[in-house]
């Protein structure tokens, strides 16, 4: 099948023919103008106060107070300037540097924060708390999206992240209680996630069942299974099955007292530290090792990989298992860190936000990590905004990750392209 069978209406072909896309400049301009109207001309009269230090920090920094009007105008005008720059580049047929949308997004977040806090009933929030909370909420998302990265880079679509998280959460709770050790529970969570992945791998690789079907059905299966066991065994005898205790928070002396950075980097549970290690390890593994090169080859062009002697399905199998184990560890966050017991469907759809983070992060571990942080931030901000009483309905904040993802896959904020062989089973011959 040659490229000539593609008509110009095909998006991929269009991208090749026309090097400059107007989608991003137009989107940025529209958002900038909207920001000018909302953050600038409709700015609240009050000032927003952001607390930076907490009382546990070594260094006490004064709180940051920003006038709603000035802050709004500055952010909106800066966004407009960036949008103008992108239009200029598009006219000159030059490629837009990657930092432009990122800085634009950051300005939007800052402008929005100033606008929303200055307009609230309580015009003061703790920035340190907001950021630390965001990282905490992002932990399961990061693990989930890393699982997705490992599977999909090898060409297996992983819709079952939700099931892997849930299986990990359940097993962590039960094993910790039964053995009395939270670390055994943590290990068990990884095994449980890997077992969920095993089903995905057997059905999608050995039996060549459509990967999306297996993923969707696995989520239902794990939800039903854990829900059933919870309603029977766990509720019957919670003391012996559902009282895992918590993973201790490990503080690194001095470093954990640095304002803002301290709590997020050096005041975490084992799961939190594992998250940073896992992101770095997956990134290094995928992009700096022979193994990673093989995985990516299998995900992009399995025939070619097979031709040079790479065992396509074996690589896929083990990647899916590894991904499941990582997601399982993320699942233990729910029952060993966030709260100390399992409840039905405790993962609450975060597996799908992890999937969104994976796509928004463009199938890259670092990108997925940053996207997960952003979604964790949105999640945390949503609950914070309800507390300080803003006019913005919390439901819209809750929608944000999903809406942003649709924009990402639709190419409005840069194209998000999956590995070429993602979702296609490989049958030799």
């Amino acid at each position: 099948m040659s490229a000539t069978t593609l008509t110009p209406t095909s998006p991929k072909a269009a991208a090749v023919d026309k090097p400059v896309s107007w989608k991003v400049p137009v989107t940025l301009s529209v958002v900038a103008v909207a920001a000018l109207v909302v953050f600038g001309s409709m700015a609240p009269g009050a000032s927003a106060t952001f607390g930076i230090s907490t009382d546990r920090d070594l260094l006490q920094l004064p709180a940051l107070t920003v006038s709603g009007v000035a802050g709004g105008w500055v952010c909106a005008l800066a966004m407009l300037a960036l949008a103008g720059y992108s239009v200029y580049l598009a006219r000159a047929a030059a490629k837009l540097p990657a930092w432009v949308p990122i800085v634009f997004g950051a300005l939007f977040v800052v402008g929005f924060l100033i606008w929303v806090v200055a307009g609230a009933r309580t015009t003061s929030i703790s920035l340190a708390g907001l950021i630390a909370g965001s990282v905490t909420l992002a932990v399961p998302l990061v693990f989930g999206s890393l699982s997705g990265v490992l599977c999909e880079r090898a060409g297996v679509v992983n819709i079952a992240i939700e099931g892997q998280l849930l299986g990990g959460a359940f097993t962590a709770a039960v094993l910790s209680t039964v053995t009395g050790s939270v670390y055994v529970g943590l290990l068990g969570a990884a095994v449980a996630g890997a077992l969920v992945s095993l089903i995905l791998a057997i059905f999608s690789i050995k039996y060549v069942v459509n990967q999306i079907i297996v993923g969707v059905v696995l989520n239902v299966l794990i939800s039903g299974l854990t829900g059933y066991l919870f309603s029977t065994v766990l509720t019957r005898d919670p003391e012996h099955f559902n009282a895992p205790g918590r993973l201790p928070i490990i503080e690194i002396p001095f470093l954990s007292a640095i304002p803002i950075i301290g709590p997020i980097l050096f005041r975490q549970s084992v799961v939190g530290y594992l998250m940073y290690i896992a992101v770095a390890a997956v990134w290094f593994g995928l992009f700096k090792t022979k193994w990673g090169l093989r995985v990516r080859a299998v995900g992009e062009h399995p025939q070619a990989a097979d031709t040079v002697g790479i065992k396509v399905n074996r690589i896929r199998f083990w990647n899916v298992i590894l991904g499941g184990a990582i997601a399982g560890v993320g699942g233990s966050f729910f029952t060993l860190v966030a709260v100390d017991s399992f409840t039905k469907d405790i993962s609450g759809g975060r597996g799908f936000i992890a999937l969104a983070a994976l796509i928004f992060g463009r199938w890259n571990p670092i990108g997925a990590f940053l996207a997960a942080l952003l979604f964790g931030f949105a999640d945390n901000l949503q609950s914070l905004l309800t507390i300080i009483g803003t006019p913005v309905p919390s439901q819209f904040m809750a929608m944000l990750p999903y809406a942003v993802t649709i924009f990402a896959v639709a190419g409005l904020v840069g194209r998000s392209r999956p590995p070429a062989a993602d979702g296609i089973p490989y049958v030799k011959g």
Binding site: M1, A3, L229, I359, Q395, V409
Partner: protein, 446 residues
């Protein structure tokens, strides 16, 4: 089982063929892969034979479907028995008196399934005739939204689109229909018609957006539909806090009751919840059958689903097909929303769609994406759901077991070699893939 031996190579060949087709159809990955399930591409384009039941039974697929259900129910029974308290107690002295354990296992599993049956089909213990047949009417009531939404998922499958978004489409459909139902007050007859149109329109918009994004930007419909489900849910929750939707004088996110004139009439009188929505679901099944098998549009859908590149070469407007099929699929899911809001629930609330949209996916998969297959699968899962509620009340077996059994059924049906291996029907043990390729080559030579 001679008929099984005969049909087996055909089934295997299909799997290998479709895998090759998928690889070819994506032009080495330059075109986004068609996510059409291998199962739904399974060579049965064109005949959905509701009338040829006998032939279906004697083909391998139906045998596998039946065995899958049996296997899933057995595994569910094992789960019930293992977690049962009495079984656990009897197992402590298993070696002294194994019969106790075995009888406890049988009591636990069979008790749950008997309760499931009595809650979904027929209850012989009831005092009155109405009480006896009440379960089956409940099954039909619960099956109504499952069938409608399942048809939406199945139709999109056939056009090569994986519609995970039935949940969101039901929600938006129900939102439109509900709003028409409690805000406007047109005369009787017209009101219900407007409610139905509202539901169809809401679902069509929510589904059509997916088709539009897919056609214009290449955005993968699986991702878009998953995200739209959540957006729909939060949108509904937000709307239920606004004056236009919230019941006056109530702080809970719940709408006013729909007008009596906006509701589906009841089919069998006040004692039963069964409403005309079920008949609408039957009509929708007939419509989808007609659309897929007797209309030009349906032919184009199937062509797009089988091979988008070939369809494009043949002059079919693939983009239009994607948009249209998703709009119709959304409208069908919207019909499920109408059944909920104007039939069963009579009010719009955050949980109006329950999990029907997700169950609809399994319904469509079990029905192998054919209209009548989806219909029967919808009835089966409706029975599970209705019976599950009764089972939970009677024997204390949590309704979650139904989810386990349903998902196992779909998993097994999707992997026929596994089921055949479990029942010892696979003459060629091991190396199924090589066998599949060999079978394909053999069939090609023949």
């Amino acid at each position: 089982m001679p008929e099984n031996l005969n049909t087996e190579p055909a089934a295997e060949q299909t799997a290998a063929d479709t895998a090759t087709d998928t690889a070819l159809a994506t032009a080495d990955g330059r075109i986004p892969p068609s996510p059409v399930p291998v199962a739904s591409q399974g060579g049965d384009l064109g005949h959905d034979g509701g009338g040829s039941l006998l032939r279906q039974i004697f083909t391998g697929n139906s045998l596998v479907a039946f065995l899958s259900v049996v296997l899933a129910i057995v595994l569910g029974g094992v789960l019930i028995a293992v977690t049962d308290e009495k079984v656990g107690a009897a197992a402590t002295y298993f070696f002294a008196r194994p019969s106790d354990t075995l009888s406890a296992i049988w009591t636990a599993a069979s008790g749950a399934y008997v309760a499931l049956f009595q809650g979904s089909i027929f209850n012989p213990n009831a005092q009155t005739f109405e009480g006896m047949i009440y379960p089956i009417t409940e099954t039909l009531t619960v099956a109504t939204p499952l069938i409608c939404a399942g048809l939406g998922v199945a139709l999109a499958f056939r056009a090569g689109l994986f519609n995970i978004g039935a949940q969101g489409q039901i929600i938006i459909g129900a939102t439109f229909a509900g709003w028409v139902g409690f805000t406007w007050h047109p005369p009787v007859g017209l009101h219900l018609a407007l409610v139905i149109v509202g539901g169809l329109l809401g679902g069509a918009v929510w589904g059509g957006v997916v088709g539009l994004l897919k056609a214009r930007t290449g955005a993968h419909e699986v991702i878009v539909t998953i995200m739209l489900n959540y957006i729909a849910q939060f949108l509904l929750l937000f709307l239920l806090t606004t004056p236009a939707f919230q019941r006056p004088g109530n702080t809970n996110p719940i709408s006013p009751l729909l007008d009596q004139s906006a509701l589906y009439p009841l089919v069998m009188g006040e004692q039963f919840r069964l409403h005309w929505g079920f008949l609408v679901a039957v009509a929708a099944t007939v419509f989808v059958w007609w659309l897929l098998n007797r209309s030009t549009v349906g032919f184009e859908f199937r062509a797009v689903g089988a091979n988008p590149s070939a369809a494009r070469t043949a002059g079919i407007n693939v983009s239009k097909g994607y948009i249209l099929v998703m709009a119709i699929a959304g409208a069908l899911a919207g019909l499920a929303g109408v059944a909920q809001v104007a039939g069963t629930e009579k009010v719009l609330s955050g949980g109006v769609a329950a999990t029907f949209g997700f169950d609809a996916i399994t319904v469509a998969l079990l029905g192998r994406s054919s209209p009548w297959g989806t219909f029967w699968a919808g009835l089966l899962f409706g029975a599970f759901r209705a019976g599950g509620t009764a089972m939970q009340a009677d024997t204390g077996t949590p309704i979650d077991i139904v989810l386990v059994v349903q998902s196992l059924i779909v998993l097994f049906i999707a992997a026929p070699p596994l089921v055949r291996a479990v029942f010892g029907l696979n003459p060629r043990k091991k190396k199924t893939k090589k066998a599949a390729v060999a079978a394909a080559e053999g069939a090609g030579a023949a």
